[in-house]
Symmetry: C2
Subunit: 313 residues, 2 copies
Amino acid sequence: MTQPFADRLADAVHEKASCLVVGLDPVLERLPAAVLEGLDDERDPRRRAALAIARFDAAVLEAVAPYACAVKPQLAFYERWGPPGLEAYEQAVAAAHDRGLLVIADAKRGDIGSTAEAYARAFLTPEAPGATADAMTVNPLLGKDSLSPFLDAVRSAGAGLFVLVRTSNPSASEIQDLVADGHPIHEHLAGHVDHWGRDFVGESGFSSVGAVVGATAASRLERLRKKMPRAWLLLPGVGAQGATPEDVAAAFDGRGLGAVVNASRSVLYAFGDRERTDWTDAVGDAARSLRDDLRRVMETARRGSGSSRSPVP
Amino acid sequence: MTQPFADRLADAVHEKASCLVVGLDPVLERLPAAVLEGLDDERDPRRRAALAIARFDAAVLEAVAPYACAVKPQLAFYERWGPPGLEAYEQAVAAAHDRGLLVIADAKRGDIGSTAEAYARAFLTPEAPGATADAMTVNPLLGKDSLSPFLDAVRSAGAGLFVLVRTSNPSASEIQDLVADGHPIHEHLAGHVDHWGRDFVGESGFSSVGAVVGATAASRLERLRKKMPRAWLLLPGVGAQGATPEDVAAAFDGRGLGAVVNASRSVLYAFGDRERTDWTDAVGDAARSLRDDLRRVMETARRGSGSSRSPVP
Protein backbone atom coordinates (compact mmCIF):
# COMPACT_ATOMS: atom_id res chain seq x y z
CA MET A 1 0.00 0.00 0.00
CA THR A 2 1.34 3.38 -0.99
CA GLN A 3 1.76 5.91 1.80
CA PRO A 4 -1.32 8.20 1.86
CA PHE A 5 -0.97 11.35 -0.20
CA ALA A 6 -1.48 13.54 2.88
CA ASP A 7 1.67 12.10 4.44
CA ARG A 8 3.68 12.10 1.23
CA LEU A 9 2.90 15.78 0.89
CA ALA A 10 3.85 16.46 4.51
CA ASP A 11 7.16 14.67 3.95
CA ALA A 12 7.83 16.63 0.76
CA VAL A 13 7.11 19.95 2.50
CA HIS A 14 9.46 18.95 5.32
CA GLU A 15 12.27 17.73 3.11
CA LYS A 16 12.22 20.77 0.87
CA ALA A 17 11.26 23.15 3.66
CA SER A 18 8.94 24.48 1.02
CA CYS A 19 5.19 24.69 0.51
CA LEU A 20 5.59 25.97 -3.05
CA VAL A 21 3.67 24.22 -5.82
CA VAL A 22 4.64 25.32 -9.30
CA GLY A 23 1.73 25.29 -11.72
CA LEU A 24 2.54 24.07 -15.21
CA ASP A 25 0.46 26.24 -17.56
CA PRO A 26 2.44 25.97 -20.79
CA VAL A 27 1.15 28.51 -23.31
CA LEU A 28 2.85 28.11 -26.69
CA GLU A 29 2.86 31.83 -27.44
CA ARG A 30 4.75 32.59 -24.23
CA LEU A 31 7.43 29.90 -24.42
CA PRO A 32 11.09 30.97 -24.72
CA ALA A 33 12.44 30.91 -28.27
CA ALA A 34 15.04 28.34 -27.24
CA VAL A 35 12.51 25.53 -26.80
CA LEU A 36 11.12 26.06 -30.30
CA GLU A 37 14.52 25.75 -32.01
CA GLY A 38 14.83 23.06 -34.66
CA LEU A 39 11.15 22.15 -34.57
CA ASP A 40 10.35 23.60 -38.00
CA ASP A 41 10.66 20.15 -39.56
CA GLU A 42 7.67 18.95 -37.57
CA ARG A 43 4.78 19.74 -39.92
CA ASP A 44 1.97 18.76 -37.56
CA PRO A 45 1.29 21.96 -35.57
CA ARG A 46 -0.07 20.05 -32.60
CA ARG A 47 2.93 17.77 -32.45
CA ARG A 48 5.25 20.77 -32.79
CA ALA A 49 3.49 22.53 -29.91
CA ALA A 50 3.62 19.38 -27.79
CA LEU A 51 7.34 18.92 -28.44
CA ALA A 52 8.04 22.53 -27.45
CA ILE A 53 5.94 22.16 -24.32
CA ALA A 54 7.72 18.94 -23.34
CA ARG A 55 11.09 20.70 -23.66
CA PHE A 56 9.81 23.68 -21.68
CA ASP A 57 8.38 21.50 -18.92
CA ALA A 58 11.56 19.44 -18.65
CA ALA A 59 13.69 22.55 -18.23
CA VAL A 60 11.22 24.15 -15.80
CA LEU A 61 11.09 21.00 -13.69
CA GLU A 62 14.88 20.92 -13.46
CA ALA A 63 14.96 24.61 -12.50
CA VAL A 64 12.27 24.47 -9.81
CA ALA A 65 12.86 20.99 -8.35
CA PRO A 66 15.10 22.25 -5.51
CA TYR A 67 12.48 24.76 -4.37
CA ALA A 68 9.07 23.13 -4.90
CA CYS A 69 7.35 20.26 -3.10
CA ALA A 70 5.01 19.55 -6.01
CA VAL A 71 3.96 20.66 -9.46
CA LYS A 72 0.46 21.17 -10.77
CA PRO A 73 0.05 20.59 -14.50
CA GLN A 74 -3.12 22.29 -15.75
CA LEU A 75 -4.76 19.83 -18.16
CA ALA A 76 -6.38 22.49 -20.35
CA PHE A 77 -3.02 23.65 -21.66
CA TYR A 78 -2.24 20.11 -22.77
CA GLU A 79 -5.69 19.16 -24.09
CA ARG A 80 -5.61 22.26 -26.25
CA TRP A 81 -3.16 20.33 -28.48
CA GLY A 82 -5.17 17.12 -28.70
CA PRO A 83 -3.56 13.68 -28.36
CA PRO A 84 0.02 15.02 -28.76
CA GLY A 85 -0.73 17.49 -25.98
CA LEU A 86 -1.89 14.69 -23.71
CA GLU A 87 1.38 12.89 -24.46
CA ALA A 88 3.23 15.99 -23.29
CA TYR A 89 1.17 15.91 -20.07
CA GLU A 90 2.22 12.32 -19.46
CA GLN A 91 5.84 13.27 -20.09
CA ALA A 92 5.54 16.10 -17.58
CA VAL A 93 4.20 13.71 -14.93
CA ALA A 94 7.04 11.26 -15.53
CA ALA A 95 9.69 14.00 -15.56
CA ALA A 96 8.33 15.48 -12.32
CA HIS A 97 8.42 12.09 -10.62
CA ASP A 98 11.98 11.54 -11.88
CA ARG A 99 12.90 14.75 -10.07
CA GLY A 100 11.18 13.68 -6.86
CA LEU A 101 8.28 16.11 -7.22
CA LEU A 102 4.70 15.21 -6.37
CA VAL A 103 2.17 15.82 -9.12
CA ILE A 104 -1.26 17.39 -8.66
CA ALA A 105 -3.27 17.07 -11.88
CA ASP A 106 -5.32 20.24 -12.17
CA ALA A 107 -8.29 18.78 -14.02
CA LYS A 108 -11.26 20.08 -11.98
CA ARG A 109 -13.36 17.13 -13.12
CA GLY A 110 -16.80 16.46 -11.71
CA ASP A 111 -19.47 14.23 -13.25
CA ILE A 112 -22.01 11.52 -12.44
CA GLY A 113 -20.71 8.31 -10.86
CA SER A 114 -19.89 6.08 -13.82
CA THR A 115 -18.25 8.98 -15.62
CA ALA A 116 -16.32 10.10 -12.57
CA GLU A 117 -14.99 6.56 -12.32
CA ALA A 118 -13.54 6.86 -15.82
CA TYR A 119 -11.92 10.18 -14.88
CA ALA A 120 -10.45 8.65 -11.71
CA ARG A 121 -8.92 5.97 -13.89
CA ALA A 122 -7.67 8.53 -16.38
CA PHE A 123 -5.73 10.54 -13.81
CA LEU A 124 -5.21 8.58 -10.58
CA THR A 125 -5.45 4.84 -11.20
CA PRO A 126 -4.71 4.03 -14.84
CA GLU A 127 -5.08 0.31 -15.52
CA ALA A 128 -2.80 0.51 -18.55
CA PRO A 129 0.60 2.23 -18.81
CA GLY A 130 -0.04 5.93 -18.43
CA ALA A 131 0.54 8.85 -16.14
CA THR A 132 -0.41 8.45 -12.49
CA ALA A 133 -0.77 11.77 -10.74
CA ASP A 134 -0.41 11.81 -6.95
CA ALA A 135 -3.51 13.96 -6.57
CA MET A 136 -6.02 15.86 -8.66
CA THR A 137 -8.45 18.74 -8.36
CA VAL A 138 -12.18 17.97 -8.53
CA ASN A 139 -15.36 20.03 -8.83
CA PRO A 140 -18.03 19.25 -6.20
CA LEU A 141 -21.10 20.81 -7.88
CA LEU A 142 -22.65 17.35 -8.44
CA GLY A 143 -22.29 16.28 -4.81
CA LYS A 144 -20.94 13.25 -3.04
CA ASP A 145 -21.78 10.49 -5.51
CA SER A 146 -19.81 12.33 -8.19
CA LEU A 147 -16.77 12.22 -5.89
CA SER A 148 -17.11 8.64 -4.68
CA PRO A 149 -14.97 7.12 -7.45
CA PHE A 150 -12.22 9.62 -6.61
CA LEU A 151 -12.55 8.78 -2.91
CA ASP A 152 -12.17 5.11 -3.90
CA ALA A 153 -8.83 6.05 -5.49
CA VAL A 154 -7.83 7.79 -2.25
CA ARG A 155 -8.65 4.58 -0.39
CA SER A 156 -7.15 2.05 -2.79
CA ALA A 157 -4.18 3.89 -4.23
CA GLY A 158 -3.24 6.46 -1.60
CA ALA A 159 -4.19 9.25 -4.01
CA GLY A 160 -5.07 12.78 -2.95
CA LEU A 161 -7.90 15.14 -3.89
CA PHE A 162 -8.26 18.87 -3.77
CA VAL A 163 -11.95 19.78 -3.88
CA LEU A 164 -12.86 23.25 -5.16
CA VAL A 165 -14.24 25.17 -2.17
CA ARG A 166 -13.61 28.84 -2.93
CA THR A 167 -11.74 29.75 -6.10
CA SER A 168 -9.58 32.82 -6.64
CA ASN A 169 -11.15 34.26 -9.81
CA PRO A 170 -13.13 37.53 -9.76
CA SER A 171 -16.56 36.00 -10.44
CA ALA A 172 -16.13 33.13 -7.99
CA SER A 173 -18.52 34.99 -5.69
CA GLU A 174 -21.51 34.65 -8.05
CA ILE A 175 -22.27 31.09 -6.95
CA GLN A 176 -19.73 30.21 -4.25
CA ASP A 177 -20.68 33.13 -1.98
CA LEU A 178 -24.47 32.77 -2.19
CA VAL A 179 -25.79 32.35 1.35
CA ALA A 180 -27.91 29.30 2.20
CA ASP A 181 -29.04 28.50 5.76
CA GLY A 182 -26.93 31.38 7.03
CA HIS A 183 -23.70 30.25 5.43
CA PRO A 184 -22.10 30.90 2.06
CA ILE A 185 -22.00 27.96 -0.36
CA HIS A 186 -18.23 27.73 0.02
CA GLU A 187 -18.67 26.99 3.74
CA HIS A 188 -21.16 24.25 2.89
CA LEU A 189 -18.56 22.83 0.53
CA ALA A 190 -15.93 23.10 3.27
CA GLY A 191 -18.19 21.14 5.60
CA HIS A 192 -18.53 18.39 3.00
CA VAL A 193 -14.76 18.30 2.47
CA ASP A 194 -14.16 17.95 6.20
CA HIS A 195 -16.72 15.16 6.36
CA TRP A 196 -15.53 13.31 3.24
CA GLY A 197 -11.93 13.52 4.45
CA ARG A 198 -12.40 12.04 7.93
CA ASP A 199 -11.61 8.49 6.85
CA PHE A 200 -8.38 9.56 5.19
CA VAL A 201 -6.39 11.33 7.91
CA GLY A 202 -2.77 10.16 7.84
CA GLU A 203 0.02 10.13 10.39
CA SER A 204 0.71 13.77 9.57
CA GLY A 205 -2.66 14.67 11.04
CA PHE A 206 -3.88 15.80 7.66
CA SER A 207 -6.35 14.20 5.30
CA SER A 208 -5.74 13.18 1.71
CA VAL A 209 -9.00 14.96 0.89
CA GLY A 210 -7.94 18.58 0.64
CA ALA A 211 -9.46 21.76 -0.71
CA VAL A 212 -8.72 24.53 -3.17
CA VAL A 213 -9.13 27.89 -1.46
CA GLY A 214 -8.17 31.11 -3.20
CA ALA A 215 -5.54 33.11 -1.32
CA THR A 216 -7.21 36.36 -2.25
CA ALA A 217 -9.07 37.00 1.05
CA ALA A 218 -7.26 36.35 4.34
CA SER A 219 -10.30 36.46 6.67
CA ARG A 220 -12.22 33.96 4.55
CA LEU A 221 -9.16 31.72 4.46
CA GLU A 222 -8.99 31.77 8.24
CA ARG A 223 -12.66 30.77 8.53
CA LEU A 224 -12.26 27.96 6.01
CA ARG A 225 -9.14 26.73 7.78
CA LYS A 226 -11.24 26.31 10.93
CA LYS A 227 -14.03 24.54 9.06
CA MET A 228 -11.54 22.06 7.58
CA PRO A 229 -8.85 21.64 10.26
CA ARG A 230 -7.51 18.42 8.75
CA ALA A 231 -7.61 19.35 5.06
CA TRP A 232 -4.52 20.13 3.07
CA LEU A 233 -5.29 23.46 1.44
CA LEU A 234 -4.10 24.24 -2.06
CA LEU A 235 -3.92 28.00 -2.34
CA PRO A 236 -3.86 29.57 -5.78
CA GLY A 237 -3.84 33.30 -6.37
CA VAL A 238 -0.37 34.21 -5.11
CA GLY A 239 1.67 36.08 -7.71
CA ALA A 240 -0.06 36.83 -11.01
CA GLN A 241 -3.51 36.84 -9.34
CA GLY A 242 -2.48 39.43 -6.76
CA ALA A 243 -2.22 37.73 -3.35
CA THR A 244 0.95 38.03 -1.28
CA PRO A 245 2.67 35.32 0.78
CA GLU A 246 1.45 37.09 3.95
CA ASP A 247 -2.17 36.66 2.81
CA VAL A 248 -1.86 32.91 3.29
CA ALA A 249 -0.44 32.88 6.83
CA ALA A 250 -3.76 31.81 8.38
CA ALA A 251 -3.67 28.54 6.46
CA PHE A 252 -0.69 27.04 8.34
CA ASP A 253 -0.72 25.18 11.62
CA GLY A 254 1.83 25.45 14.43
CA ARG A 255 4.17 23.14 12.57
CA GLY A 256 4.14 25.33 9.47
CA LEU A 257 2.10 22.61 7.76
CA GLY A 258 -1.37 22.33 6.26
CA ALA A 259 -1.18 24.39 3.11
CA VAL A 260 0.65 24.46 -0.19
CA VAL A 261 0.77 27.58 -2.29
CA ASN A 262 0.52 27.50 -6.05
CA ALA A 263 2.19 29.96 -8.37
CA SER A 264 2.08 29.42 -12.11
CA ARG A 265 2.66 32.31 -14.47
CA SER A 266 4.76 34.39 -12.07
CA VAL A 267 7.31 31.57 -11.99
CA LEU A 268 6.97 29.99 -15.45
CA TYR A 269 7.30 33.23 -17.35
CA ALA A 270 9.66 35.06 -14.99
CA PHE A 271 12.17 35.40 -17.83
CA GLY A 272 10.08 38.10 -19.51
CA ASP A 273 11.95 38.35 -22.79
CA ARG A 274 11.35 35.18 -24.85
CA GLU A 275 14.77 35.56 -26.50
CA ARG A 276 16.68 35.21 -23.23
CA THR A 277 19.01 32.20 -23.46
CA ASP A 278 19.37 32.08 -19.66
CA TRP A 279 15.62 31.86 -19.18
CA THR A 280 15.80 28.85 -16.88
CA ASP A 281 17.88 30.89 -14.40
CA ALA A 282 15.03 33.39 -14.16
CA VAL A 283 12.51 30.59 -13.57
CA GLY A 284 14.68 29.01 -10.88
CA ASP A 285 15.31 32.39 -9.24
CA ALA A 286 11.59 33.18 -9.16
CA ALA A 287 10.83 29.82 -7.57
CA ARG A 288 13.59 30.21 -4.97
CA SER A 289 12.53 33.73 -4.12
CA LEU A 290 8.90 32.73 -3.63
CA ARG A 291 9.97 29.64 -1.66
CA ASP A 292 11.97 31.96 0.63
CA ASP A 293 9.02 34.32 1.13
CA LEU A 294 6.71 31.41 1.91
CA ARG A 295 9.27 29.84 4.24
CA ARG A 296 9.23 33.02 6.31
CA VAL A 297 5.43 32.76 6.53
CA MET A 298 5.68 29.10 7.63
CA GLU A 299 8.33 30.02 10.22
CA THR A 300 6.13 32.80 11.58
CA ALA A 301 3.18 30.41 11.88
CA ARG A 302 5.40 27.98 13.76
CA ARG A 303 6.78 30.58 16.15
CA GLY A 304 3.38 32.21 16.61
CA SER A 305 1.90 29.00 17.97
CA GLY A 306 4.79 28.13 20.24
CA SER A 307 4.57 24.49 19.09
CA SER A 308 7.69 22.41 19.30
CA ARG A 309 6.43 19.52 17.16
CA SER A 310 8.09 18.68 13.87
CA PRO A 311 9.80 22.00 13.27
CA VAL A 312 10.33 23.18 9.73
CA PRO A 313 14.05 22.66 9.08
CA MET B 1 -20.12 32.92 -40.33
CA THR B 2 -21.47 29.55 -39.30
CA GLN B 3 -25.16 29.40 -38.53
CA PRO B 4 -25.63 29.68 -34.72
CA PHE B 5 -25.73 26.36 -32.91
CA ALA B 6 -29.25 27.07 -31.63
CA ASP B 7 -30.55 27.17 -35.19
CA ARG B 8 -28.50 24.23 -36.40
CA LEU B 9 -29.98 22.20 -33.59
CA ALA B 10 -33.51 23.38 -34.41
CA ASP B 11 -32.97 22.38 -38.05
CA ALA B 12 -31.63 18.97 -37.05
CA VAL B 13 -34.60 18.33 -34.75
CA HIS B 14 -36.96 19.31 -37.57
CA GLU B 15 -35.27 17.29 -40.26
CA LYS B 16 -35.06 14.14 -38.17
CA ALA B 17 -38.35 14.81 -36.37
CA SER B 18 -36.30 13.71 -33.39
CA CYS B 19 -35.03 15.27 -30.21
CA LEU B 20 -32.97 12.22 -29.35
CA VAL B 21 -29.30 12.71 -28.47
CA VAL B 22 -27.34 9.49 -28.18
CA GLY B 23 -24.61 9.66 -25.56
CA LEU B 24 -21.35 7.96 -26.48
CA ASP B 25 -20.08 6.38 -23.25
CA PRO B 26 -17.87 3.60 -24.60
CA VAL B 27 -16.85 1.26 -21.77
CA LEU B 28 -14.35 -1.36 -22.95
CA GLU B 29 -15.74 -4.07 -20.68
CA ARG B 30 -19.22 -3.71 -22.19
CA LEU B 31 -18.34 -3.59 -25.87
CA PRO B 32 -19.63 -6.37 -28.14
CA ALA B 33 -17.10 -9.12 -28.83
CA ALA B 34 -17.24 -8.34 -32.55
CA VAL B 35 -15.43 -4.99 -32.20
CA LEU B 36 -12.53 -6.64 -30.35
CA GLU B 37 -11.88 -9.23 -33.02
CA GLY B 38 -8.41 -9.28 -34.54
CA LEU B 39 -7.01 -6.70 -32.11
CA ASP B 40 -4.83 -9.18 -30.21
CA ASP B 41 -1.80 -8.14 -32.25
CA GLU B 42 -1.99 -4.64 -30.80
CA ARG B 43 0.21 -4.95 -27.72
CA ASP B 44 -0.40 -1.46 -26.31
CA PRO B 45 -3.54 -1.91 -24.16
CA ARG B 46 -4.54 1.72 -24.54
CA ARG B 47 -4.23 1.58 -28.30
CA ARG B 48 -6.17 -1.69 -28.37
CA ALA B 49 -8.96 -0.14 -26.30
CA ALA B 50 -9.02 2.96 -28.50
CA LEU B 51 -9.23 0.88 -31.69
CA ALA B 52 -12.13 -1.14 -30.28
CA ILE B 53 -13.89 2.04 -29.18
CA ALA B 54 -13.43 3.62 -32.61
CA ARG B 55 -15.00 0.55 -34.26
CA PHE B 56 -17.84 0.56 -31.74
CA ASP B 57 -18.52 4.27 -32.20
CA ALA B 58 -18.47 3.99 -36.00
CA ALA B 59 -21.03 1.18 -35.94
CA VAL B 60 -23.19 2.92 -33.33
CA LEU B 61 -23.18 6.15 -35.31
CA GLU B 62 -24.31 4.31 -38.44
CA ALA B 63 -27.06 2.56 -36.50
CA VAL B 64 -28.45 5.65 -34.73
CA ALA B 65 -27.93 8.31 -37.42
CA PRO B 66 -31.48 8.00 -38.84
CA TYR B 67 -33.04 8.50 -35.41
CA ALA B 68 -30.86 11.03 -33.55
CA CYS B 69 -30.32 14.77 -34.07
CA ALA B 70 -27.00 14.75 -32.25
CA VAL B 71 -24.55 12.63 -30.33
CA LYS B 72 -22.84 13.42 -27.05
CA PRO B 73 -19.42 11.84 -26.59
CA GLN B 74 -18.49 11.77 -22.91
CA LEU B 75 -14.82 12.76 -22.71
CA ALA B 76 -14.06 10.72 -19.59
CA PHE B 77 -14.50 7.44 -21.45
CA TYR B 78 -11.92 8.56 -24.00
CA GLU B 79 -9.46 10.22 -21.61
CA ARG B 80 -9.39 7.01 -19.61
CA TRP B 81 -7.20 5.59 -22.41
CA GLY B 82 -4.79 8.52 -22.64
CA PRO B 83 -3.64 9.96 -25.97
CA PRO B 84 -4.97 6.99 -28.03
CA GLY B 85 -8.33 7.50 -26.33
CA LEU B 86 -8.37 11.15 -27.31
CA GLU B 87 -7.65 10.07 -30.89
CA ALA B 88 -10.74 7.86 -30.71
CA TYR B 89 -12.74 10.88 -29.51
CA GLU B 90 -11.59 12.88 -32.52
CA GLN B 91 -12.53 10.00 -34.81
CA ALA B 92 -15.98 9.88 -33.23
CA VAL B 93 -16.49 13.59 -33.87
CA ALA B 94 -15.44 13.23 -37.51
CA ALA B 95 -17.57 10.13 -38.03
CA ALA B 96 -20.61 11.82 -36.48
CA HIS B 97 -20.20 14.84 -38.73
CA ASP B 98 -19.81 12.55 -41.75
CA ARG B 99 -23.23 11.12 -40.86
CA GLY B 100 -24.78 14.56 -40.50
CA LEU B 101 -25.03 14.42 -36.72
CA LEU B 102 -24.30 17.37 -34.48
CA VAL B 103 -21.75 16.75 -31.73
CA ILE B 104 -22.07 17.90 -28.11
CA ALA B 105 -18.78 17.30 -26.29
CA ASP B 106 -19.70 16.27 -22.77
CA ALA B 107 -16.66 17.69 -21.00
CA LYS B 108 -18.22 19.67 -18.11
CA ARG B 109 -15.18 21.93 -17.99
CA GLY B 110 -15.06 25.01 -15.79
CA ASP B 111 -11.96 26.91 -14.73
CA ILE B 112 -10.50 30.39 -14.36
CA GLY B 113 -10.39 32.60 -17.47
CA SER B 114 -7.03 31.81 -19.06
CA THR B 115 -7.55 28.10 -18.48
CA ALA B 116 -11.11 28.16 -19.76
CA GLU B 117 -9.77 29.77 -22.92
CA ALA B 118 -7.49 26.77 -23.46
CA TYR B 119 -10.45 24.41 -22.95
CA ALA B 120 -12.56 26.41 -25.43
CA ARG B 121 -9.78 25.97 -27.96
CA ALA B 122 -9.46 22.29 -27.15
CA PHE B 123 -13.10 21.51 -27.86
CA LEU B 124 -14.79 24.31 -29.83
CA THR B 125 -12.24 26.38 -31.73
CA PRO B 126 -9.06 24.37 -32.34
CA GLU B 127 -6.45 26.46 -34.11
CA ALA B 128 -4.71 23.35 -35.44
CA PRO B 129 -6.31 20.36 -37.15
CA GLY B 130 -8.41 18.64 -34.54
CA ALA B 131 -11.98 17.85 -33.62
CA THR B 132 -14.45 20.71 -33.53
CA ALA B 133 -17.53 19.88 -31.54
CA ASP B 134 -20.70 21.86 -32.26
CA ALA B 135 -21.34 22.42 -28.58
CA MET B 136 -20.02 21.38 -25.20
CA THR B 137 -21.16 21.09 -21.60
CA VAL B 138 -19.65 23.47 -19.02
CA ASN B 139 -19.66 23.71 -15.22
CA PRO B 140 -20.67 27.15 -13.85
CA LEU B 141 -19.35 26.86 -10.26
CA LEU B 142 -16.64 29.48 -10.96
CA GLY B 143 -19.09 32.06 -12.34
CA LYS B 144 -19.24 34.23 -15.42
CA ASP B 145 -15.57 34.94 -16.02
CA SER B 146 -14.91 31.20 -16.22
CA LEU B 147 -17.50 30.98 -19.01
CA SER B 148 -16.46 34.07 -20.96
CA PRO B 149 -13.99 32.24 -23.21
CA PHE B 150 -16.71 29.73 -24.08
CA LEU B 151 -19.16 32.56 -24.77
CA ASP B 152 -16.51 34.03 -27.08
CA ALA B 153 -16.60 30.75 -29.02
CA VAL B 154 -20.38 31.03 -29.22
CA ARG B 155 -19.97 34.51 -30.66
CA SER B 156 -17.07 33.87 -33.04
CA ALA B 157 -17.68 30.31 -34.17
CA GLY B 158 -21.40 29.76 -33.76
CA ALA B 159 -20.71 27.17 -31.08
CA GLY B 160 -23.21 26.07 -28.45
CA LEU B 161 -22.98 25.60 -24.69
CA PHE B 162 -24.97 23.56 -22.23
CA VAL B 163 -24.41 24.91 -18.73
CA LEU B 164 -24.98 22.53 -15.82
CA VAL B 165 -28.06 23.81 -13.97
CA ARG B 166 -29.57 20.78 -12.26
CA THR B 167 -28.00 17.40 -12.84
CA SER B 168 -29.76 14.04 -12.71
CA ASN B 169 -27.58 12.15 -10.23
CA PRO B 170 -28.84 11.21 -6.75
CA SER B 171 -26.57 13.59 -4.80
CA ALA B 172 -27.14 16.57 -7.11
CA SER B 173 -29.35 18.03 -4.39
CA GLU B 174 -26.49 18.46 -1.89
CA ILE B 175 -25.27 21.68 -3.50
CA GLN B 176 -27.64 22.45 -6.37
CA ASP B 177 -30.78 22.48 -4.20
CA LEU B 178 -29.44 24.61 -1.34
CA VAL B 179 -31.74 27.61 -0.95
CA ALA B 180 -30.23 31.11 -1.13
CA ASP B 181 -32.37 34.27 -1.14
CA GLY B 182 -35.49 32.13 -1.32
CA HIS B 183 -34.44 30.16 -4.38
CA PRO B 184 -32.47 26.97 -4.86
CA ILE B 185 -29.00 27.31 -6.33
CA HIS B 186 -30.14 25.66 -9.56
CA GLU B 187 -32.63 28.49 -10.09
CA HIS B 188 -29.84 31.02 -9.58
CA LEU B 189 -27.86 29.13 -12.20
CA ALA B 190 -30.89 29.16 -14.50
CA GLY B 191 -31.13 32.93 -14.11
CA HIS B 192 -27.49 33.28 -15.12
CA VAL B 193 -27.99 31.02 -18.14
CA ASP B 194 -30.96 33.08 -19.28
CA HIS B 195 -28.94 36.25 -18.87
CA TRP B 196 -25.77 34.96 -20.54
CA GLY B 197 -27.79 33.60 -23.45
CA ARG B 198 -29.66 36.76 -24.36
CA ASP B 199 -27.11 37.90 -26.93
CA PHE B 200 -27.19 34.56 -28.69
CA VAL B 201 -30.83 33.97 -29.59
CA GLY B 202 -31.09 32.71 -33.17
CA GLU B 203 -33.88 32.72 -35.75
CA SER B 204 -35.33 29.63 -34.09
CA GLY B 205 -36.11 31.77 -31.04
CA PHE B 206 -33.67 29.74 -28.96
CA SER B 207 -30.27 30.67 -27.62
CA SER B 208 -27.00 28.90 -28.26
CA VAL B 209 -26.44 29.06 -24.50
CA GLY B 210 -28.47 26.13 -23.22
CA ALA B 211 -28.68 24.21 -19.99
CA VAL B 212 -28.35 20.69 -18.67
CA VAL B 213 -31.41 19.82 -16.59
CA GLY B 214 -31.99 16.32 -15.28
CA ALA B 215 -35.25 14.78 -16.47
CA THR B 216 -35.79 13.13 -13.11
CA ALA B 217 -38.32 15.65 -11.65
CA ALA B 218 -41.09 16.98 -13.88
CA SER B 219 -42.23 19.89 -11.68
CA ARG B 220 -38.69 21.22 -11.34
CA LEU B 221 -38.22 20.92 -15.08
CA GLU B 222 -41.35 23.00 -15.66
CA ARG B 223 -40.08 25.74 -13.34
CA LEU B 224 -36.66 25.79 -14.96
CA ARG B 225 -38.23 25.90 -18.43
CA LYS B 226 -40.00 29.12 -17.36
CA LYS B 227 -36.82 30.61 -15.91
CA MET B 228 -34.95 29.94 -19.18
CA PRO B 229 -37.59 30.32 -21.91
CA ARG B 230 -35.01 30.69 -24.67
CA ALA B 231 -32.51 28.05 -23.60
CA TRP B 232 -32.14 24.75 -25.37
CA LEU B 233 -32.39 22.18 -22.61
CA LEU B 234 -30.29 19.04 -22.68
CA LEU B 235 -32.12 16.46 -20.61
CA PRO B 236 -30.21 13.46 -19.31
CA GLY B 237 -31.72 10.82 -17.09
CA VAL B 238 -34.14 9.14 -19.50
CA GLY B 239 -33.58 5.39 -19.72
CA ALA B 240 -30.88 3.94 -17.50
CA GLN B 241 -31.33 6.74 -14.92
CA GLY B 242 -35.05 6.09 -14.55
CA ALA B 243 -36.95 8.98 -16.17
CA THR B 244 -39.60 8.28 -18.81
CA PRO B 245 -40.27 10.24 -22.02
CA GLU B 246 -43.44 11.64 -20.41
CA ASP B 247 -41.35 13.16 -17.62
CA VAL B 248 -39.81 15.59 -20.10
CA ALA B 249 -43.03 16.92 -21.70
CA ALA B 250 -42.84 20.26 -19.86
CA ALA B 251 -39.57 21.09 -21.59
CA PHE B 252 -41.05 21.53 -25.08
CA ASP B 253 -42.69 24.59 -26.56
CA GLY B 254 -45.76 24.69 -28.80
CA ARG B 255 -43.65 23.78 -31.81
CA GLY B 256 -42.31 20.66 -30.12
CA LEU B 257 -38.95 22.42 -29.84
CA GLY B 258 -36.68 23.57 -27.01
CA ALA B 259 -35.30 20.37 -25.60
CA VAL B 260 -33.18 17.44 -26.61
CA VAL B 261 -33.15 14.24 -24.63
CA ASN B 262 -30.03 12.24 -24.00
CA ALA B 263 -29.91 8.49 -23.62
CA SER B 264 -26.59 6.72 -23.38
CA ARG B 265 -26.37 3.27 -21.87
CA SER B 266 -29.97 2.26 -22.66
CA VAL B 267 -29.20 2.67 -26.37
CA LEU B 268 -25.48 1.82 -26.57
CA TYR B 269 -25.77 -1.46 -24.71
CA ALA B 270 -29.26 -2.47 -25.83
CA PHE B 271 -27.82 -5.68 -27.29
CA GLY B 272 -27.36 -7.21 -23.84
CA ASP B 273 -25.33 -10.26 -24.80
CA ARG B 274 -21.84 -9.20 -25.88
CA GLU B 275 -21.60 -12.19 -28.20
CA ARG B 276 -24.55 -11.13 -30.38
CA THR B 277 -23.36 -10.65 -33.96
CA ASP B 278 -26.45 -8.56 -34.81
CA TRP B 279 -25.74 -6.14 -31.97
CA THR B 280 -26.03 -3.04 -34.16
CA ASP B 281 -29.65 -3.97 -34.94
CA ALA B 282 -30.43 -3.85 -31.23
CA VAL B 283 -28.76 -0.44 -30.91
CA GLY B 284 -30.65 0.94 -33.91
CA ASP B 285 -33.95 -0.53 -32.64
CA ALA B 286 -33.46 1.03 -29.22
CA ALA B 287 -32.75 4.43 -30.77
CA ARG B 288 -35.76 4.21 -33.07
CA SER B 289 -38.04 3.12 -30.28
CA LEU B 290 -36.95 5.96 -28.00
CA ARG B 291 -37.18 8.42 -30.89
CA ASP B 292 -40.78 7.26 -31.45
CA ASP B 293 -41.68 7.67 -27.77
CA LEU B 294 -40.15 11.14 -27.70
CA ARG B 295 -41.86 12.10 -30.96
CA ARG B 296 -45.21 11.38 -29.32
CA VAL B 297 -44.26 13.68 -26.47
CA MET B 298 -43.25 16.43 -28.91
CA GLU B 299 -46.53 15.96 -30.83
CA THR B 300 -48.53 16.21 -27.62
CA ALA B 301 -46.72 19.43 -26.69
CA ARG B 302 -47.54 20.83 -30.10
CA ARG B 303 -51.21 19.87 -30.01
CA GLY B 304 -51.56 20.94 -26.40
CA SER B 305 -50.53 24.48 -27.20
CA GLY B 306 -52.68 24.81 -30.33
CA SER B 307 -49.75 26.45 -32.09
CA SER B 308 -49.60 26.21 -35.87
CA ARG B 309 -46.01 27.44 -36.23
CA SER B 310 -43.37 25.14 -37.68
CA PRO B 311 -45.09 21.85 -37.01
CA VAL B 312 -43.01 18.78 -36.33
CA PRO B 313 -43.20 16.75 -39.55
